[in-house]
C-alpha cells in the first residue's frame, strides 16, 4: 500500500529524493543506531552515489544526517562547516560493494562515548532507504516502522522471549527477520513494530539472558 505522502512529499531540500533526501535519512539512521553523536566517520560511496554524488549534494546530505539534520533542513548545504564546529571529522572514499544497490554507502562511525557502528545502506527512491548490513551481518529494514535491532547469541528461545515481552506490552510485530553469521554464533533479530516500544520494555529486553545489545529506532513522522 502506497502512502500518499510518499507521493505528495517528502518535503525536502533538493535536488534529488534518492541522492539527497535519502542520503540525509541514511546518515540520520546511522546516528540513531550509534545511539550518540558521532565524532569520526568514514563514508564509502558506491555506484551512482560515487558517480554523481557531489553534484547532488549526496556527500553534504550524508554528513547532515550524521549531524542529526532532517531531510528538509535548509542547513544541509552547509553541513561540512557545521560538522567542523561540532567536532565531527569525516573522510570520503569510493568503494565497490558487491551486489549492492547503485545508491549505496557504507559508513563506519565512532561516537563521542566510543560506540562504533559499521552500516551499509541504500537509497531506494523517493527518499526511502533500506539498511542492508550492520557490523558485517546482512539485515533488511527501512525505518518506515519502529525498529528493534537485537544482537543475541544464536541459541533457542530468544525469539520467543522477545516476542512474548512485546505481546505483553501490546506491541504488534509488523515484520520480523533473523540473521546470523554462523550457527551458535552471534545473531541479529530485526523487529519492526506498529506501536512504539515503551522504555520499560526496552529495559526488560536488555536484561533477558542471551541478549547482548539492543538498539531501538523510533519511526519519524
Amino acid at each position: 500500500m502506497i502512502d500518499i505522502f510518499d507521493i505528495m512529499g517528502p518535503i525536502m531540500v533538493g535536488p534529488s529524493s534518492s541522492h539527497t533526501a535519502g542520503a540525509v535519512r541514511i546518515g540520520r539512521m546511522a546516528r540513531a543506531l550509534l545511539g550518540e553523536a558521532p565524532v569520526r566517520a568514514k563514508l564509502h560511496l558506491h555506484g551512482s552515489f560515487a558517480e554523481t554524488g557531489v553534484g547532488h549534494g549526496t556527500d553534504k546530505a550524508l554528513v547532515a544526517g550524521l549531524l542529526g539534520m532532517a531531510p528538509d533542513d535548509l542547513s544541509i548545504p552547509q553541513s561540512f562547516s557545521i560538522a567542523e564546529d561540532q567536532g565531527l571529522t569525516f573522510t570520503f572514499n569510493e568503494i565497490d560493494l558487491r551486489d549492492a544497490h547503485p545508491n549505496s554507502v557504507q559508513l563506519e562511525v565512532v561516537g563521542e562515548e566510543g560506540n562504533c557502528l559499521t552500516m551499509q545502506a541504500c537509497s531506494v527512491g523517493g527518499g526511502r532507504i533500506r539498511v542492508d548490513k550492520i557490523d558485517g551481518v546482512e539485515v533488511n529494514f527501512t525505518g518506515d516502522y519502529n525498529t528493534l535491532i537485537i544482537h543475541n547469541r544464536d541459541d533457542r528461545g530468544h525469539v520467543a522471549d522477545v516476542t512474548y515481552a512485546l505481546y505483553q506490552a501490546k506491541v504488534n510485530v509488523a515484520n520480523m527477520s533473523l540473521h546470523r553469521d554462523a550457527k551458535g554464533g552471534s545473531a541479529i533479530m530485526i523487529i519492526e513494530t506498529d506501536e512504539r516500544v515503551p522504555a520499560l520494555i526496552l529495559d526488560l529486553l536488555r536484561r533477558l539472558p542471551g541478549i547482548l545489545h539492543i538498539t531501538y529506532y523510533e519511526k519519524e513522522d
Binding site: 500500500m1 505522502f5 518535503i11 539527497t20 533526501a21 553534484g55 561540512f80 573522510t91 558487491r98 523517493g126
Partner: protein, 312 residues
C-alpha cells in the same frame, strides 16, 4: 481500500456517493491510522511548503554545475509584458522554472511525486490559487486527488526516472496536476480520469537523460512542459473530450514503455542530451572539479579518490 487503480477509486466514489478526494483522504486515514484532522494537517504542510518555496525563490542562486539559476526571474520579467501564450500561462511557466531551479540549488521543495518533477504541481496550483481566490480547503482537496492519482501510477507503473524514464516523473506529475485542475474547476470524477489519461499519453516515451547525471538539464525546463500539458489536458477534459484509451490502460502502457526503455534513457546519463558534445563537456568539468572542490573546501576531510578494492 487500496489505491490500486483509477477504476477502483471511481467505483468507490460512485458507490459511496462521495467526491474522489474524500475517498483518497479516507484511505489515508485508514492506511496510516490517523484522524481526518491529522491527515488534512499533513496535506496542509505540503501545500504551505509549496507556497513557501515559491515565495523564497531567489534568482541569484546557482546550482552545483552553474547551469541553472536565474531563468525563473528572466521569465517573470518577460511574463509581465506580452507573452505569446498569455499572462496566465506565462506565470505558470515562471512558477515551474522557479521551483525546478530552487530544487537544483538545494532549497526546500515538495517532491511531487519526485524532486525532479517538483515544479509541476505548484506551477499549475499557485497561479490559479492567486488568480481565483480559491479557499485553502479546496486546494487541499485537489492535492488529495493528485496524490491518489500518483499512488495509482506508482502502484501500477512507476514514478522514478531510473525505473521508467522521464515519462514516469514529469509524465506522472503532469497527470496528477491535470487531475487536480479538473477538481478545482468542479469537473466530474470521470473528467478527472480523462484528464489524467490525456496528460500521461502526451508524455509517453519521454526519456530521462540528465546532463552529468544532475537534476538540472533538462529537468528544470521539463517541469514547464509538465505544467503546460496538464493545463491543456484539464481543459480538454472539461470541454468534454474523452481519452479513447481508458486511464488505467494508459498507466499500464506507461509502465510497459518504461520497462522496455533502454537503460541509457533511465537516469543513467548514458544517452540523449547527456551524451551530446556539450552534455559530455559539462560532465568532464564536473568530474574535474570533484577532487579540487573537496580539498579546497574541507579542511578536515582527507579525500581519497582512489577506488578501493571489492569490500567484504
Amino acid at each position: 481500500m487500496n489505491l490500486d487503480s483509477m477504476k477502483d477509486i471511481l467505483a468507490a466514489a460512485r458507490r459511496e456517493d462521495k467526491p474522489l478526494w474524500e475517498i483518497i483522504l479516507e484511505t489515508d486515514m485508514e492506511n496510516r491510522g490517523v484522524t481526518r484532522e491529522e491527515s488534512m494537517e499533513k496535506m496542509a504542510q505540503a501545500w504551505h511548503a509549496m507556497l513557501d518555496a515559491s515565495a523564497s525563490y531567489d534568482g541569484r542562486r546557482h546550482s552545483a554545475s552553474g547551469l541553472v539559476g536565474g531563468q525563473g526571474e528572466q521569465m517573470r520579467a518577460y511574463a509581465a509584458g506580452d507573452p505569446i501564450c498569455g499572462n496566465f500561462a506565462a506565470e505558470v511557466i515562471t512558477e515551474a522554472l522557479c521551483m525546478g531551479e530552487s530544487n537544483a540549488c538545494m532549497r526546500r521543495i515538495v517532491a511531487a511525486p519526485t524532486a525532479g518533477a517538483c515544479g509541476v504541481m505548484p506551477a499549475v496550483l499557485i497561479p490559479l490559487y492567486r488568480r481565483d481566490n480559491i479557499s485553502e480547503e479546496r486546494m487541499l482537496q485537489a492535492m488529495y486527488v493528485a496524490s491518489g492519482i500518483g499512488a495509482v501510477i506508482a502502484y501500477k507503473a512507476c514514478i522514478a526516472g531510473a525505473a521508467g524514464g522521464c515519462q514516469a516523473e514529469i509524465g506522472s506529475a503532469s497527470a496528477m496536476a491535470a487531475g487536480a485542475l479538473v477538481t478545482l474547476r468542479g469537473g466530474t470524477a470521470e473528467q478527472v480520469c480523462h484528464a489524467v489519461a490525456m496528460a500521461l499519453k502526451n508524455l509517453l516515451g519521454l526519456v530521462c537523460d540528465p546532463v552529468a547525471g544532475l537534476v538540472e538539464v533538462p529537468c528544470v525546463k521539463r517541469n514547464v512542459i509538465g505544467a503546460m500539458n496538464a493545463m491543456a489536458a484539464a481543459d480538454m477534459a472539461l470541454a468534454g473530450i474523452e481519452s479513447r484509451i481508458p486511464v488505467d490502460e494508459v498507466i499500464d502502457a506507461m509502465g510497459d514503455v518504461g520497462r522496455r526503455l533502454p537503460v541509457e534513457f533511465r537516469e543513467t546519463a548514458l544517452g540523449g542530451l547527456a551524451v551530446t558534445p556539450t552534455g559530455k563537456a559539462v560532465k568532464e568539468r564536473m568530474m574535474g572539479s570533484r577532487n579540487k572542490n573537496r580539498t579546497l573546501t574541507i579542511k578536515d576531510a582527507r579525500w581519497k579518490l582512489q577506488r578501493t578494492g571489492p569490500a567484504n
